[in-house]
Structure formats: structure tokens, C-alpha cells
């Protein structure tokens, strides 16, 4: 199978389930909403080393937000409800509450037993001067700030999302591989309900499970490192590949992840790209197998 003469490997991306939430950050302007969102989603690339995988889903028009101000939608993913709750409350507390003019709202429906508190934890910062307002079934906390007050929804809903949807772009040069990866990331970002948690949506550090060093859970995926091609027997790279970038996608649903992968792969298939493949761990990591040829053929 080829797209624009770029061969698509008969491989599958191995994704796994995670608990996910959507956080809506608003502010007096898009600029300040973006600043808060960028801060809150920082250091959120991989659950291997971060408390959550995080990223900006999209910017929101004032007509789409609860308070009619510009906003940004963020998605967070973690291993379980408790870990997600702690990560999000800390991030909102340190990066959104502290940011000028912001407010923070839940962006997913709430189901009993599948929620965690954010405003309900941060309210203590109000030192007794915090005020609760209830509207319908939602409680908001108003915490006094030096520029007015910070409004934060008490409870946030969660859903069972999918993390680790991915594909690898094999390029003739670093320049062509990066250009293709940038195009792929841009296309994938257009899909709703997904984030690309790595810097710029692109990963240079493809990993494999385990390491020769015992304490490490993951290490560089040496088979895809072009600098090692002459030194190892199990290189997966053809001779003309000199750079590989990976696009990693987390989504609220399997369908959204597939749609983003599909859009990204189509955008990545351009001159200078030698092939597209996917990262998997032989089925050891997660239950979701997303076959590249299957999702591209089903369009």
C-alpha cells in the first residue's frame, strides 16, 4: 500500500487506555487563555516520566465558553482517576489560578464515581473568604485574587480515553522528515477530541519497553536510530533513511485517535519521505491495536 508513492508498512500502533478529562481555561483575552493553557499543559509529554499526558486540544471562541470569554480546551490523560485528579488540581492550582484573569471549567459530562475535584481542592487557598455558587448541578468556587477573583468549577468529569496512537515518519534527511512531521502534526491537530502531547506534536525519542539498565522502564528505540545502523544487527531502517520522527496521539475515543492518525499520515506522505510505519511493543503494552493499512483503507 502506498500514498503519494510513500509505502505504508503493514504494522499496527499499540495504544492503551487511560483516564481522560477536558479542562476549559478562559481569560480576558485569547492571549492570556493561551498563556495559562500552555503553562498548565507543560511537562506533560509521557506518563513514563510525567504525572499526566497533557496538551491543548483547540482554542475556543467566546461563544463556545461558559463565561463568554476566549478560551482554550485542554485534555489530560493519566493512569487512573486519583492520579489524574491530583495532576490536574496541581496544574490548575499552579498554572491557571496564578495566571491573570483566568477561570477554569469542566469540559466533559459527569458520571457518578467518575469525577474528581479541582475547585473543591483549590478553594482552601481562599482562606475562608472563598465563595461557592451553585448553578443547576454545577458548583463553582470563587477565590479572591489580587486582580479580582478566580472562578473554578468544583468537579470535573472523566472518560476512558486512549493514549499512544502513533505513526513513524521515515525520512531521507532530517529536514524532509521534520517538514513531513510538522505537516502531519498540523493535520492531526485539526481533529477534535485529541491532543499531541509531545513538543510541537512530534517525538524524536521513540522508545521501547525496558532497558539494559534495570531501573529504567523505557529506553531509546535503537532499531529506529539511524546513527546505530552500522553498529546493530536489528536496525529497522532502510539504507536511505537518515531521520525518523514519531507522531503520538492521545484521544478521548478510539475513533478520534484513528481519524487523527489518518489525517496525519496523509499529510506526511510527501517527497523525501521513505515510508510510514507504527510503533508497537509486540502487544505487550496495551490492548488497542490500530493497523495502519486498515485505517487508511477504510477511508
Amino acid at each position: 500500500m502506498t500514498i503519494n508513492d510513500v509505502p505504508i508498512d503493514d504494522q499496527f500502533a499499540e495504544a492503551f487506555g487511560m483516564v481522560a478529562c477536558r479542562v476549559i481555561v478562559t481569560a480576558v483575552s485569547a492571549k492570556w487563555a493561551r498563556i495559562a493553557a500552555t503553562e498548565a499543559s507543560g511537562y506533560g509529554t509521557s506518563i513514563i516520566g510525567c504525572d499526566a499526558e497533557a496538551g491543548i486540544e483547540r482554542e475556543l471562541d467566546p461563544r463556545e465558553t461558559r463565561d463568554g470569554r476566549p478560551g482554550v480546551s485542554l485534555l489530560f490523560f493519566s493512569l487512573n482517576l486519583e492520579a489524574l485528579g491530583q495532576a490536574v488540581a496541581k496544574r490548575v492550582g499552579q498554572c491557571v489560578l496564578t495566571c491573570a484573569t483566568t477561570a477554569c471549567f469542566n469540559g466533559l459530562p459527569k458520571s457518578p464515581g467518575q469525577t474528581f475535584r479541582v475547585g473543591g481542592r483549590l478553594r482552601w487557598f481562599g482562606d475562608g473568604y472563598q465563595v461557592s455558587k451553585v448553578l443547576d448541578d454545577r458548583r463553582f468556587w470563587r477565590i479572591p485574587m489580587m486582580d479580582g477573583e478566580f472562578t473554578c468549577e468544583d468537579e470535573f468529569g472523566t472518560t476512558r480515553g486512549i493514549a499512544g496512537g502513533n505513526f513513524l515518519i521515515l525520512g531521507e534527511t532530517q529536514t524532509t522528515a521534520l517538514a513531513a512531521a510538522e505537516a502531519a502534526a498540523e493535520a492531526a491537530r485539526q481533529v477534535r477530541d485529541v491532543i499531541l502531547p509531545f513538543p510541537g506534536g512530534i517525538v524524536r525519542s521513540g522508545s521501547k519497553v525496558g532497558s539494559k539498565y534495570q531501573p529504567l522502564k523505557a529506553s531509546t528505540n535503537h532499531a529506529y536510530c539511524p546513527t546505530l545502523r552500522g553498529a546493530i544487527d536489528d536496525s529497522a531502517l532502510p539504507e536511505n533513511v537518515n531521520a525518523v520522527y514519531e507522531i503520538v496521539i492521545d484521544g478521548l475515543t478510539r475513533e478520534a485517535v484513528i481519524e487523527a492518525m489518518r489525517a496525519g499520515i496523509h499529510a506526511a506522505c510527501r517527497p523525501g519521505v521513505v515510508g510510514i510505519t507504527a510503533g508497537n511493543y509486540g502487544g505487550k503494552l496495551g490492548p488497542h491495536k490500530i493497523y495502519l493499512r486498515e485505517i487508511l483503507g477504510s477511508r
Partner: protein
């Protein structure tokens, strides 16, 4: 949908606490016609005052004809939709817990008193004590939403504990002794508003009320929660909230004779 058409013209008030959608759902027309209503000192059958057609399987009840002297309509309702095409008498929607009560005309005193949930929308005016508490009760409304497109009378939202009440204006003693909750007033706010309120919010748009001296000015700011509430009011079809932009809102803290953790927000 069940339709109840007022056929009697008596000026003596009628008490009809049985006209509640969730209680009528499982009754046949003949059973509904036999329901008791209190007409002055006499207990009579509902059919003597209303023509009954249709059924309430969908929990939807429509009332037409003059109901301005029919008391307790929708009182205590827990589900369904009661639509009154004219005006409603006293105690409409009092102590309701859920469902929707819509009044095309006006409502008399004690509208939504001590309600705990649901939505009341009156397209005309309302009498005294809307969303307040009955004499001797500790708490007024504890949840739900009351929307009055026209003005309300005295004591609106007094002793409110939770919930949202919005009106185009209200008389004296609005939100007096308020414990918590929100009263939004889109016009005239009478004297003694928030007297002895402990917590809660009175938000006033488009007028500059005379406040008690026990309210102290805090600042001018842009409260985000107000935007959230206004947007919800617009979603609920509350006309006076349309086109209101939150900006330069003045905050007054009070009532300082009672906790002082309440607030009156004024946007001129």
C-alpha cells in the same frame, strides 16, 4: 398532554393542590375529574371547575381559562411540565422539587416558596414573597430557578438558602436574611435589600439602588461567575438578561450586622 380548562367563574379562591403533573400521570380522566378541590369552605370535585381532556402520560399538563384565583398549582411537584396559559394564584410551585412550571401571565404571592429544585418561569409579574419562606420556617428556597420577567413584590428571596431567582425588579426587603443563593434583579431594587443577609449574592443590573448603611463598598471588578449565570439565564429564555455585558461591576459587602459575607453587585 392533559388539558384543564377553567369553566367556573367563581370569585371565591379555589385550592387545587392536586394539580401537579407527576400526580396526574397515572390517573384516567374520570379519576382526575373526581379529585377534590377546596372551593371556599366546600370540598368539591375538580370537574365542577375544570373541563378535563387528554391524558398526562407524558407528564405535561396545560391549564387555560382564568386561574388567577386557583391556589397551590404545581405545589410540591417532583417531575413533569405544568403550563398555565393565564395567571396563577397564590402558592404556585411552592415547595416544588423538580420539573417545570411555566406561567404565561402573572403569579400571585408565595410563588416558589421553599422550593428545592426545578424551574419556574413567570412571563408576567409576581406577588410578594417569591422564593421566600413561610412564616416560621428557617429557610426559603433551597434550590432550583425562579424567573419572573416582570417585577416581584416584597420580600423576594427572603431567607433563601440556595438556588437562583431572577426578576425584572422587586420591592422592599429583597433577599432579607438571605443565607446563601443568588438573586438577580434587572431593574428596580426596593429598600432594605439584603437586610441581615449572611452570605449570598444580590446582583443588580441597570439601576442604582439605595443600600443599607451596613453594606460597605469593596471594589469595582469583573466577576466571571456573573457571566456564567447570565449566559445560563439567556439559555433559559429569560428576556431581561439578553444583551447584558458584565463590566465595571461594583461590589458591596454586607450585611455587616450579620456575618457580612454576602454581597450586592451593581452594574449601572
Amino acid at each position: 398532554m392533559l388539558r384543564l380548562t377553567r369553566i367556573s367563574t367563581s370569585q371565591i379562591p379555589l385550592e387545587a393542590p392536586s394539580i401537579v403533573p407527576d400526580r396526574l400521570t397515572r390517573l384516567r380522566v374520570v379519576e382526575i375529574e373526581r379529585l377534590p378541590v377546596q372551593h371556599g369552605s366546600r370540598t368539591e370535585k375538580l370537574a365542577e371547575h375544570f373541563r378535563v381532556t387528554g391524558d398526562a402520560i407524558d407528564s405535561h399538563v396545560l391549564m387555560d381559562g382564568d386561574c388567577s384565583r386557583v391556589k397551590w398549582l404545581g405545589a410540591g411537584m417532583t417531575a413533569g411540565h405544568l403550563h398555565i396559559e393565564s395567571s396563577a394564584g397564590m402558592h404556585a410551585g411552592s415547595r416544588m422539587a423538580s420539573g417545570t412550571l411555566e406561567v404565561a401571565g402573572s403569579a400571585d404571592d408565595w410563588l416558589g416558596v421553599e422550593m428545592s429544585g426545578g424551574l419556574i418561569h413567570v412571563h408576567g409579574a409576581a406577588g410578594d414573597h417569591a422564593g421566600a419562606a413561610y412564616e416560621g420556617s428557617q429557610r426559603g428556597m433551597t434550590g432550583g430557578v425562579i424567573l419572573v420577567d416582570g417585577e416581584c413584590g416584597l420580600g423576594t428571596g427572603a431567607v433563601m438558602r440556595r438556588g437562583l431567582s431572577a426578576t425584572a425588579g422587586c420591592g422592599d426587603f429583597a433577599a432579607a436574611s438571605m443565607i446563601a443563593g443568588s438573586l438577580f434583579v434587572f431593574g428596580r431594587l426596593g429598600r432594605f435589600a439584603g437586610a441581615e443577609m449572611k452570605r449570598g449574592t444580590i446582583a443588580v443590573f441597570g439601576s442604582e439602588p439605595e443600600l443599607l448603611p451596613t453594606f460597605r463598598k469593596a471594589c469595582q471588578f469583573d466577576p466571571t461567575f456573573l457571566r456564567v449565570f447570565l449566559r445560563r439565564l439567556v439559555e433559559l429564555g429569560f428576556g431581561p438578561a439578553h444583551g447584558i455585558e458584565v463590566r465595571d461591576v461594583q461590589r458591596f459587602c454586607g450585611d455587616l450586622v450579620s456575618h457580612g459575607q454576602g454581597e450586592i453587585l451593581i452594574q449601572k
